[in-house]
C-alpha cells in the first residue's frame, strides 16, 4: 500500500522526487498514532477485550455460577463431535448464499430504478424503505402472525400453502427465514445501490446513447460495472448479517423444526443462555469469528477490493 501510494504521488517525475514530498507532508502534521488513540481504545475495550475473554472462556466450564473452571480442550472436543454444530455451520452457509442470491439482484434493480429523478419514484422509495425502520423483533412477530397456518395467509390460500405447515418443515422454515430476511434487508441494500447509481456520471450514459446503446445495454455495460465496488460492500454486509442472523430465527422458528434452522449464531445463544454452558457457547462464538474473518478475507481477495481501484479512473 505504501509503495503504491508513493508511486502515484511520484507521478511521471520519477521516484527521486517522491521522498521529499512525503517528508514534507508529515511536517505539516500527518496524523500520528495519537490520532488513532481514541478509536483504538474503544476498539480494544469493546472488541478485543471481550474477544480475548471469550477465547479464555472457551477453555472453561462455566454456568454463570461460581468461578469458571479450566477444562482444557474439552469444549472443543465436544464441538468437533457435535452433529448439531456441523449442521449449524452448513445451515449458516446456506443462509448466506440464499440471502445474497435473493437480495442482491432485487436491490440492484430497485436501487437503480429508485435512482431516477421522477417524483413518483421518491414517494414509492420512501414506502419501500419502511421495513428498514422496523426492529427485527417486530418484523419477526409480524410475519409469524401473517404466516399462522390457521388464521394467517396460508389458511386463506390453501391452494398455495397446502396445510400451511410452513414452519414445521425444513424447506418451509428456511424459505420463510430467507423471505423475511429479504423483506427486511433489501431496502437497506437498495439504499446503498441507489446512492451509488446516482453517483454514476451522466456523461457515460450520454456517450452510450450516441453509440446507440439501449436501456438494457446501458444497464449491463455501464451501470453494473460502475456498481462493482458497491456490490462488494453490500455483499460483505449481507455475509456478515447472514452469519449473525438471530432474532428472526429465535422468534419465527426457535431453531426448529428440531434443529433444522439452528444456525451457528442461534446455537451459540442456545448453548450459552438457554443451556447455561458459557464454555461451549464461547467456543461457538470463536468459531463464528474465525469463519466470518475467513469469509471476509476471501471476498476481499477474490473481488480485488483490497486494491481499491476507482471505477471512475480516467474520467
Amino acid at each position: 500500500m505504501t509503495t503504491l501510494a508513493t508511486r502515484r504521488q511520484a507521478g511521471p517525475g520519477g521516484s527521486t522526487e517522491s521522498r521529499p514530498a512525503r517528508s514534507g507532508a508529515s511536517s505539516v502534521g500527518r496524523p500520528g498514532f495519537a490520532w488513532a488513540l481514541p478509536a483504538t481504545i474503544f476498539f480494544a475495550l469493546f472488541a478485543l477485550v471481550p474477544l480475548a475473554a471469550v477465547a479464555v472462556l472457551s477453555f472453561t466450564s462455566w454456568s454463570g455460577l461460581g468461578d469458571p473452571e479450566f477444562v482444557g480442550f474439552e469444549n472443543w472436543e465436544t464441538l468437533v463431535a457435535d452433529p448439531v454444530m456441523l449442521k449449524s455451520l452448513w445451515l449458516s452457509l446456506l443462509f448466506i448464499v440464499l440471502g445474497v442470491v435473493t437480495q442482491t439482484p432485487l436491490s440492484i434493480l430497485l436501487g437503480v430504478w429508485a435512482a431516477g429523478h421522477q417524483r413518483n419514484r421518491a414517494v414509492l422509495s420512501a414506502i419501500y424503505f419502511i421495513p428498514l425502520l422496523l426492529s427485527s423483533a417486530a418484523i419477526s412477530v409480524l410475519w409469524r402472525a401473517l404466516l399462522d397456518p390457521n388464521f394467517g395467509l396460508p389458511g386463506q390460500l390453501p391452494w398455495l400453502f397446502g396445510d400451511g405447515n410452513l414452519l414445521g418443515t425444513q424447506a418451509g422454515a428456511i424459505g420463510v427465514l430467507i423471505f423475511v430476511g429479504m423483506w427486511q434487508f433489501t431496502p437497506f441494500h437498495t439504499l446503498i445501490y441507489q446512492g451509488a447509481a446516482k453517483g454514476i456520471p451522466t456523461v457515460l450514459y450520454q456517450a452510450a446513447s450516441i453509440d446507440g446503446a439501449g436501456t438494457v445495454r446501458q444497464f449491463f455495460s455501464i451501470t453494473l460495472p460502475q456498481l462493482r465496488n458497491t456490490a462488494i460492500t453490500s455483499i460483505i454486509l449481507m455475509v456478515v448479517g447472514g452469519l449473525t442472523t438471530f432474532e428472526t430465527v429465535l422468534i419465527l422458528t426457535n431453531g426448529g423444526p428440531g434443529t433444522d434452522t439452528t444456525i451457528t449464531a442461534f446455537y451459540m445463544y442456545q448453548e450459552a443462555f438457554q443451556s447455561f454452558d458459557f464454555g461451549v457457547g464461547s467456543a461457538i462464538a470463536l468459531v463464528l469469528v474465525v469463519v466470518a474473518t475467513l469469509i471476509s478475507l476471501v471476498v476481499v481477495k477474490v473481488s480485488g477490493y483490497d486494491k481499491m481501484n476507482s471505477s471512475l479512473e480516467g474520467l
Binding site: L65, D67, R144, N150, G164, S275
Partner: protein, 433 residues
C-alpha cells in the same frame, strides 16, 4: 516499522491487563452481606399479570418495616436467563421467584441458597400452612428451600363442548381407547381432533408427561431424574412412546401443529373457534380464554383429567404440570429476619384472597375457605380438589431437570412428534441428559 511493533505491544499489554480486570470482576462472585444495599430487601419476580398482587403485598409489608422491600419484576421470557446471570453477583436478589425442583437445584449445589428450616422451626406455619405435595417440590436433600407463592398450575384436558356434541361425543374421554375413538369421530366431523402448539415445544412435552405417568407410574421419571438413564430404554418407556405414536399416526393433532403456537394465541383460538375438539394445557388456559373470549370460557369450555391408560401402572388421578411457584432466599441476604417476615405473608388470608381474585390458585390449607370468591368458583374448586387428591403431582419435565436440559428435552419431544426421530432416537436423546 518500529512504531507498529510498539503499537501492537502496547495493545497486547492493554488487552491482557483489561482481561485480568474483567476476569477478576466476574470471578469474584457473590460476596458478603455488607456489600449489599442498606435497608433494602430485593425481591425478584417473574413479570406478568400477577404482579399486582405482589405489589400489594410489598406495599403492605413496607408499611410496618424499616427495611423496605423493593420488587424487581423481570419480563417473563427472560426470567431464568437474567436470574442465572445475576444470582452469583452483588446484584443478586435477596428473595426470588422460581419453580422449585430443577430450577433451583444448581443454586443449591453452588451453595447460594439459604435453607429455610430455621425459619420453619420458628414459625411452623411456613410449612404446615401449605399442601404437602406442593411444598415438597422445593425440598432438596431433605432441606426446604422454597415457600409456595402464586398458584398451582396442573395440566388438564380442555375441550370445546359444542364441538364434541356435534361429533356425537357426550363426555370427555375417561380412557385412552375412548380418546382414540373421539379422535376418529372428530376427524369425521371435519375438525382437528386435538389442538397442539407444537412450535412452543413445551405443549408437546405435556403429552409425554402424562402418557409416561399413566403407563409407567411416577417412578420411571423419578428414576431417570435420579440418574438411572436405563429406564428410558425399559419396556414401559417403549410402550408409552408406542401409545403416543399411535395417537399421532391417527392424525389426532392434524399435520401443521409444528407451525402453531400457544403463546401467540394460535392453539387456544383453534379450540375456541370450534376448529379443534381438545387441547391439553395448563390451568392458565382458562384465564387465556377468559381474556380472549369470555362467552366461550364461561359457557362452552370444558375440562377433565387426563384419561386413564388401561393396564398402566400410574394412578389415573396423578397430575403433571407446574406444582407451584416458590420464593427462595439468597444465602448472602443482609436481612434474613425481614425475609422470613415477608415470606409469612404468603399464607395470609389477604394474600390467598387476592390471588384467587385474579384467577390464581394458591395451595395453602386455608385456600378452600375462599374458593367461592373466585371468578369461576366451580373451576377453582375442581382444580383445587384435583391437586388435593392427587397421589402424585409430577413437576413439568423441563422444570424438574436443571435448565441446561431444557433444549435437549424440547428438541426430543418435538422431533418425536414430527417423526424426525423414532423411539430409539428419543430414548438416546433422553439418555444423553
Amino acid at each position: 516499522m518500529n512504531n507498529r511493533t510498539w503499537m501492537s505491544r502496547g495493545l497486547a499489554g492493554t488487552a491482557v491487563m483489561m482481561l485480568g480486570l474483567t476476569l477478576a470482576g466476574c470471578g469474584g462472585g457473590g460476596g458478603d452481606a455488607s456489600s449489599r444495599p442498606e435497608n433494602e430487601l430485593h425481591v425478584a419476580v417473574y413479570g406478568d399479570a400477577s404482579n399486582k398482587v405482589e405489589e400489594a403485598m410489598v406495599a403492605k409489608f413496607n408499611e410496618t418495616s424499616d427495611v423496605k422491600v423493593v420488587l424487581d419484576t423481570i419480563p417473563g421470557a427472560d426470567y431464568q436467563t437474567k436470574l442465572q446471570t445475576i444470582i452469583d453477583t452483588d446484584s443478586a436478589p435477596d428473595v426470588f421467584f422460581n419453580w422449585g425442583g430443577g430450577s433451583i437445584a444448581n443454586f443449591v449445589k453452588a451453595d447460594l441458597l439459604l435453607p429455610l428450616d430455621d425459619f420453619i422451626e420458628e414459625d411452623p406455619k411456613l410449612k404446615d400452612a401449605f399442601l404437602p405435595s406442593v411444598f415438597e417440590t422445593a425440598e432438596i436433600d431433605g432441606k426446604s428451600y422454597g415457600v409456595p407463592m402464586r398458584g398451582t398450575q396442573p395440566v388438564m384436558l380442555f375441550s370445546n363442548s359444542e364441538v364434541l356434541k356435534q361429533a356425537g361425543i357426550d363426555a370427555p374421554p375417561a380412557t385412552w381407547d375412548e380418546l382414540l375413538e373421539d379422535v376418529e369421530r372428530l376427524k369425521a366431523a371435519g375438525v382437528t381432533p386435538i389442538a397442539l402448539g407444537g412450535a412452543d415445544q413445551w405443549p408437546t412435552q405435556m403429552w409425554f408427561q402424562y402418557v409416561f405417568d399413566r403407563v409407567a407410574g411416577e417412578g420411571l421419571f423419578q428414576a431417570a431424574l435420579d440418574g438411572d438413564t436405563e429406564v428410558w430404554d425399559s419396556e414401559e418407556s417403549r410402550e408409552a412412546l408406542g401409545k403416543l405414536r399411535e395417537l399421532i399416526d391417527a392424525g389426532a393433532f392434524g399435520t401443521n401443529f409444528d407451525s402453531v403456537k400457544f403463546t401467540d394465541g394460535g392453539s387456544p383460538t383453534l379450540l375456541s373457534s370450534g376448529r379443534a375438539g381438545f387441547e391439553l394445557m395448563g390451568s392458565w388456559a382458562y384465564a387465556t380464554h377468559l381474556d380472549a373470549d369470555p362467552e366461550f370460557a364461561e359457557n362452552v369450555l370444558s375440562y377433565s383429567e387426563f384419561p386413564e391408560i388401561e393396564g398402566g401402572k400410574g394412578d389415573p388421578h396423578n397430575l403433571a404440570g407446574n406444582t407451584n411457584n416458590f420464593y427462595s432466599v439468597h444465602k448472602d441476604t443482609r436481612y434474613p429476619e425481614e425475609a422470613a417476615e415477608f415470606l409469612k405473608l404468603m399464607y395470609s388470608d389477604e394474600f390467598v384472597q387476592e390471588q384467587i381474585a385474579i384467577g390464581n390458585l394458591p395451595t395453602t390449607t386455608n385456600t378452600e375457605e375462599f374458593l367461592d370468591e373466585a371468578s369461576n368458583p366451580e373451576y377453582a374448586k375442581y382444580q383445587f380438589d384435583l391437586v388435593k387428591d392427587a397421589p402424585n403431582f409430577q413437576l413439568s419435565w423441563d422444570q424438574a431437570y436443571p435448565p441446561e436440559a431444557t433444549v435437549t428435552i424440547h428438541t426430543a419431544v418435538s422431533q418425536f412428534f414430527s417423526g424426525q426421530i423414532d423411539e430409539d432416537g428419543f430414548i438416546k436423546a433422553m439418555q444423553g441428559l
